[in-house]
């Protein structure tokens, strides 16, 4: 059988297809170079630091002697910081999002608030550090405590959580709310039984990504004066502390080469934690899209 010649690729179509092919390879090239750069970076860090990451590294305090130095106080400090931040920022952020999406009247006032929240998400983190220093450390007299750090971090990630939660809530179709209202449900019953469960995967993903940002942030912690050399573990929110990024920053600032390798080791641990959290976010998203 012969092909109908109307169905063979025409000149005009061929041009469009050529454009499409070019664009495809262009995208692959751009993505590829980004991945390549990332790969080189990762390779350097891992080859520098992998020898140092062991049990002794995880369970030792920092030290002047590289072989004895570890990240115990920084790691535990980060755990304290993230837990307190989560405790402060998650309820506040999620409740704010629920209020803005489900309860607040849509008027100019709430619009102003929403625009401001979006802007806050773009404010450089050092500015939050300055605010934390003035408000929490000095004015409220919390000094360089974990709680001062956590409050600063909460301010930093609050806009991110609110925006993510708002988007997840907004994605729930109105027909679902109406179905519930038509059964004589109150607004809270509708939110509690239908909107929140349906929005939960999206909200959780946003929370995890926001918290992983809090783990990696350095500037605000330096600003509020987190310590760089800590040979004890915080026992209460009022205790002084250090955190992983601070410890890494401190080691990279030293002249000796060995400390740079220690810093790479710290980065590996930090990256590991971040990777785990992101994997969790992906998993939750995947589970949410299935059900």
């Amino acid at each position: 059988m012969t092909t109908n010649k109307d169905l063979v690729t025409s000149q005009r179509l061929r041009q469009r297809q050529a454009k499409a092919t070019f664009f495809k390879y262009f995208c692959i090239a751009v993505t590829g170079s980004a991945v390549l750069i990332l790969g080189i970076l990762l390779y350097q860090i891992i080859s520098d630091g992998y020898r140092w990451v062991d049990w002794q590294f995880m369970t030792s305090y920092p030290s002047r002697f590289p072989e004895k130095a570890g990240i115990l106080s920084a790691f535990v400090g980060t755990l304290w910081l993230v837990s307190l931040t989560a405790l402060l920022a998650i309820p506040t952020g999620v409740l704010a999002a629920i209020y803005l999406e489900e309860y607040a009247p849509k008027n100019r006032w709430t619009q102003l608030i929403e625009v401001n929240i979006a802007n806050l998400a773009g404010v450089p983190s050092i500015v939050f550090g300055i605010l934390g220093l003035a408000l929490f450390v000095r004015f409220m007299g919390l000094n360089r405590s974990v709680i001062a750090g956590a409050m600063t971090m909460s301010l930093l990630i609050l806009p991110v959580i609110i925006i993510a939660a708002k988007e997840a809530i907004r994605a729930i179709p109105n027909s679902l709310r109406q179905a519930a209202f038509a059964l004589g449900a109150t607004r809270w019953q509708v939110v509690r039984a239908h909107v929140l469960p349906a929005a939960l995967p999206g909200i959780l993903t946003g929370i995890i990504l926001a918290l992983s940002r809090a783990i990696g942030e350095t500037a605000p912690l330096i600003m509020i004066g987190a310590l760089t050399y800590v040979a004890f573990l915080p026992e209460s929110p009022m205790d002084e502390f250090t955190a992983l990024p601070i410890q890494i920053f401190n080691w990279t600032a030293r002249p000796q080469e060995t400390f740079h390798e220690l810093a790479a080791g710290g980065i590996i641990v930090l990256l590991g934690v971040l990777l785990l959290m992101n994997a969790l976010a992906v998993y939750i998203r995947y589970r949410g899209s299935k059900s």
Binding site: N174, L176, Q178, A179, F181, A182, L183, G184, A185, S291
Partner: protein
Amino acid sequence: MSDAVPILNALDLSIAYGKDDAVKNVTLPILEKKITAIIGPSGCGKSTFLRSLNRMNDFIDGVSHRGQILYRGSDLYAENVDPVEARLRIGMVFQKANPFPKSIYRNVAWGPGINKLPGDPNERVETALKQAALWDEVSDRLNDSALNLSGGQQQRLCIARALAMEPEIILMDEPCSALDPVSTARIEDLLFELKKKFTIVIVTHNMQQAARVSDYTAFLENGVLIEYGETDQVFTRPKETRTEEYVTGRFG
């Protein structure tokens, strides 16, 4: 139509989205334990009118009402009326099936549960599903997700969900538009059954259906009530030529 009392009564009711009236000066009684059909071309304000009867328009931004709706003689939109209480008495089935993304059982049991209706919840679910002609198809998989049901089954589930609340009035917005003739016939049988206990307002595009099931028919066009009367009269001896053209399909 003289001896029956209106359980709902729209008096000179206008409903506007922003500035544009979608329903204009409609005066229409809904008689107790009767089926009232609302017919009219697409976009004439049937859904808008229906939603105003159980205050579902409250959720749409920019909707305003003029005129009155009386529920058993008192203003449904009065200050001290709790819309939640009103919706308990006046249930609704929507134009598009909107089951909760939960199990079949939970879909039906949720409303009675949060409102603490008396009696055995399992029995209530079973009764409602049987009334909606869905029980035989789902009785062995009540814990499956409602989203796995076919479109028609989902719509019957939504009907069962409304019935489980045992409201006084059920508002149905084209409940059969997604159903096959067999399910439609079953829903129509159900309507005859329900009429003994409930008052029903049904929006439909299906003239035969309106003629078959309803006691009274209202014909809306561009938000204006053109004609209202006993179904028999509206379909066989319409007073208005517009009505005649519409019900006989010579409409345009």
